[in-house]
Symmetry: C2
Subunit: 340 residues, 2 copies
DNA sequence: TTGCGTGTTGACAACGTTGTCATGAATGTC
DNA sequence: GACATTCATGACAACGTTGTCAACACGCAA
């Protein structure tokens, strides 16, 4: 049968190529009757416009890129899903681009990606989204972009973004632990290359301050967003003269490491130790006990970022938008044991 | 600066468009000296061929699709990564396409995808890869495809594939448990829509048979590839008059559910109960205790599938290929407690 | 009647690339 | 030396679409 082209549609509807093009692109100036005739022909022939031809001819392109370097598959899949939803809705293509955030020529790499695949713009996930130098370079290449970043408020720095209030979410978790009665709460940092790490720490700090709980630097350990650092960090905290009664891991993987270390040390979670994570990964639901954590609607965030990007490409003047993760209480937290 | 086109390269190298095209596509019949001159011009101008124009003009396309409907993000990310590696190497684009494997008009959906995005072919992940009716429809649409399937041997049914020997891997796990001394080994099925499920069961069965361990149907429960079914299944097994001393969950999620159920029942893994999973997901490394499981090199498998597909598109006559997962022994398995 | 604005339509070129075919030069064969 | 064969190269059309511009029909005011 072959594939129907705009030419076949035009012939069938007895109009010119251009008129069909107008109908497809919802341009004005087509009589209702003509439009209907063309529509019928399109359906009869099951015609679909050819993306290559389209983006070749119009300087515009009909695809965006999703750029990430994040070892967390749940996060990435959710980001992809959100972006895809919007792309399908808007008739766009999506080009995924995992990359190395520490790569030496990242800006050039992304420029080449945009050129080669004729992308209309990029959605940047953390940590690329937080490297201002990179953003500036991309802006110099005239590449439209939308960032997903961790921030307590709209940065208003000219780069459009969707911002996630990690600080507030970490505040909520810490406040919850304090309300349970915990006064010594350990904090395990995530990787410094992610802006979410200091944000989460700030939330922790703020809650302690506001509730008048002293901040003991002994209880705060640096590390990475990894199981192993959670395990190691927890072991160090257990060895303190006055160990914490609760540990807040900066993400679920860290918290999983804490759970494992607690098991190894013979501590019973949550009775001997409360543990909280961050991210609401499936792990947090399936661990034992299941983890108290913070849920961000990654898919929605990504949808929003894609929408923002496409609106920007269409020349719209669109506002940034913020999301606040919500506290999810599960079985890994409880009031501390009464002092003996 | 704008983007350099083949025309600019031709001017700079003082040759015709066609000659540049020949150099790019590694066609024969270009003098070494000319080729070098063109290459230099390409590098000076940092020229990259435009994918849209290319695929518009040549009937050939320079992108393949990856089709999946699998709730396991680790698996999907690995599949994507493998396919991307090959695509970058070969100068192809990759279109990801998550879809609903039970959708009513899947074949049409995929045909439209291929047409719209001008895909040269598809890599199908399970369970789409196992639905023969779908394969036939796609073949009728002349869509080149490569499947990733679960099979003990090359099916030789005309549809190219990469096959993973789940049966053998399940055999290895079961045999290992038997060698530890287990005689009552529970088996929790995965979802029936995945061909890997019966394959894994067959491996379990075969090991019991070969080692002369009686197969007790009471110990075999159906379910899905989910944490909850693992939890429920384990609870039922614990309630038997003569409960199992080991449980083999058809994947790591099921095994995670078993771990949780064991915790809830006060059973100490691995001393009171051995647990084995399948897949080597990060969960299996981070659970407590970490899970004995089976590792498949998903990224390699996907790479191979993509290579097979591209070779097929190029008209090569390529052989199917098999992969065997390998046994990974961790802390969740041990010899059974001596009978009291 | 003329002139003008508006709404609808089509002819044609162009996007950047590759396929087809033609051309001329170099080489081999008798 | 004549002719066939191969090699290297280029001119040109074509892929399917959209942008530009012109043309036409219509209604309305002068």
């Amino acid at each position: 049968m072959g594939t129907a082209t705009i030419r076949d549609v035009a012939r069938q509807a007895k109009v010119s190529l251009k008129t069909v093009s107008r109908v497809i692109n919802r341009e004005g100036s087509v009589r209702e009757e003509t439009r209907a005739r063309v529509q019928r022909a399109i359906e009869q022939l099951d015609y679909r416009p050819d993306l290559s031809a389209r983006s070749l001819r119009s300087a515009k392109s009909y695809a965006i890129g999703l750029v990430y370097d994040n070892p967390n598959p749940y996060y990435i899949i959710a980001m992809q899903q959100g972006a895809l939803t919007v792309c399908r809705e808007m008739g766009f293509g999506l080009q995924i681009h995992p990359c190395n955030s520490r790569g030496p020529r990242l800006a050039e790499e992304l420029r080449d990606l945009v050129r080669r695949s004729r992308l209309a713009g990029l959605v940047l996930a953390p940590p690329m989204s937080e490297r201002v130098a990179l953003l500036r370079e991309l802006a110099a290449y005239n590449i439209p972009l939308v960032r997903v970043i961790s921030a307590a408020e709209d940065p208003r720095d000219g780069f459009p973004c969707v911002f996630v209030d990690d600080r507030d979410a970490a505040y909520a978790i810490t406040a919850y632990l304090i309300q349970l009665g915990h006064l010594r709460i350990g904090f395990l940092w995530g990787g410094k290359q992610h802006r979410s790490s200091p944000e989460r720490y700030k939330g922790y700090e703020k809650a302690l301050r506001e509730y008048g709980v002293p901040l003991d630097e002994e209880l705060v350990l640096e590390g990475d967003y990894s199981f192993d650092d959670g395990f190691r960090g927890a072991r160090r905290l257990f060895g303190l003269a006055e160990p914490p009664t609760a540990i807040f891991g900066s993400n679920d993987e860290i918290a999983a490491g804490v759970l494992a270390a607690a098991r190894a040390a013979g501590l019973h979670v949550p009775y001997d130790l409360s543990v909280a994570g961050f991210e609401d990964s499936p792990f947090s639901r399936h661990s034992w006990p299941s983890l108290t954590t913070s849920r961000q609607r990654t898919e929605l965030i990504s949808e929003h970022a894609a929408r923002l990007l496409i609106a920007q490409i269409h020349g719209g003047n669109v506002a940034n938008e913020g999301f606040s993760p919500e506290l999810v209480v599960r079985g890994s937290t409880a009031p501390p044991r009464p002092r003996q």
